[in-house]
């Protein structure tokens, strides 16, 4: 008995699909949707943007934000401490709007350490020399290429890599 070739194709397709879904996207380290909540918070905006882009809450899971906000006096080599009241208000906002698609038990402190970030910014995709440009300076400088990052806009089509 000979099976129709289309059956074989269907079987292969189903197998591929199931193996894909068994391995969660970005190993479970996916940013949320949306990355930026509709309702913002004035304290979060003012305090975080005092030194850098106020990174959208959906870029990391809740445990990451809790860890980060618990160590502001040693914030990537800088003292960024806030009053206890401000720390609490901002932590609550970040946790409430953290990534809703992060399934892994990981909680990186750096957005750039997350699997979704590394996959999206692979060396084959972006020349590693780009990060060293004075206009970019570091991987944490989202705004250098994503001009709408402060509004939570990271669409691939609007990326413009500066000279």
């Amino acid at each position: 008995m000979q099976r129709h070739p289309l059956w074989t194709l269907a079987a292969v397709f189903t197998l591929t699909l199931s193996s894909l879904s068994a391995q969660a996207k970005y190993n479970g380290e996916d940013r949320g949707r949306p990355v930026m909540p509709a309702q913002s918070n004035a304290k979060w905006q003012a305090e975080c943007s005092g030194c850098h882009l106020a990174f959208p809450p959906g870029l990391l899971p809740a445990p990451s934000w809790q860890k980060l906000m618990g160590g502001l006096d040693k914030h990537f080599g800088t003292d960024a401490s806030l009053s206890p009241a401000d720390t609490k208000e901002i932590t609550d906002f970040l946790v409430r709007n953290a990534s809703n698609r992060w399934t892994a038990s990981t909680a990186p402190l750096k957005i750039t350490d997350s699997e979704w970030f590394k996959t999206k910014h692979r060396a084959g995709e972006i020349n590693p020399a780009v990060w060293k440009r004075e206009s970019v300076k570091s991987q944490s400088n989202c705004m250098a290429c994503h001009r709408g990052a402060d509004k939570g806009e990271f669409d691939e089509d609007t990326v413009r890599i500066p000279k």
């Binding site: 030194c51 850098h52 006096d73 990537f76 080599g77 800088t78 003292d79 960024a80 401490s81 806030l82 009053s83 300076k137 570091s138 944490s140 400088n141």
Partner: protein
């Protein structure tokens, strides 16, 4: 004649008073009160000492000028993130040093970063006196 002399006196006193008013700062006054409480021998703050502090490098090879440039009248740039920093001298940026909570927040952070320790009230007052004197 008498009237003219009055006018002259008025202008002379204004000429003396205006620079004082321009330098008046409520946050600095608070530091002065605090310094007197902490140290009965306290005399006054010194702009020269404040200027020295501005360029003092701490254990991390950082000073105020690392981010705020050699002159507090210039716009600065965050050494790590590239973020633009508005000038610190009130003569070019009148919003500076008008909010005591904000001033304290930044003294805590930046003294730690630049000097690796907290600043004393004397140092904070010296620093403010220097910045207010920069025209």
């Amino acid at each position: 004649m008498k009237f003219q002399r009055h006018i002259a006196t008025l202008f002379t006193s204004l000429a003396f008073a205006l620079p004082l008013v321009a330098n008046a700062n409520a946050v600095l006054d608070d530091y002065k009160t605090q310094a007197k409480t902490e140290n009965p021998a306290f005399k006054d703050f010194s702009a020269a000492a404040g200027q020295r502090l501005y360029s003092t490098q701490g254990p991390n090879q950082l000073s105020c000028s690392s981010c705020h440039t050699d002159s507090p009248k210039n716009a600065g740039k965050h050494a790590k993130t590239n973020k633009a920093i508005d000038p610190m001298a009130p003569s070019v940026n009148p919003q500076r040093f008008t909010d005591a909570t904000k001033v304290e927040k930044w003294f805590k952070r930046n003294c730690n970063d630049a000097l690796g320790r907290a600043c004393t009230t004397q140092e904070k007052g010296d620093f403010l006196t220097y910045l207010l004197s920069v025209k």
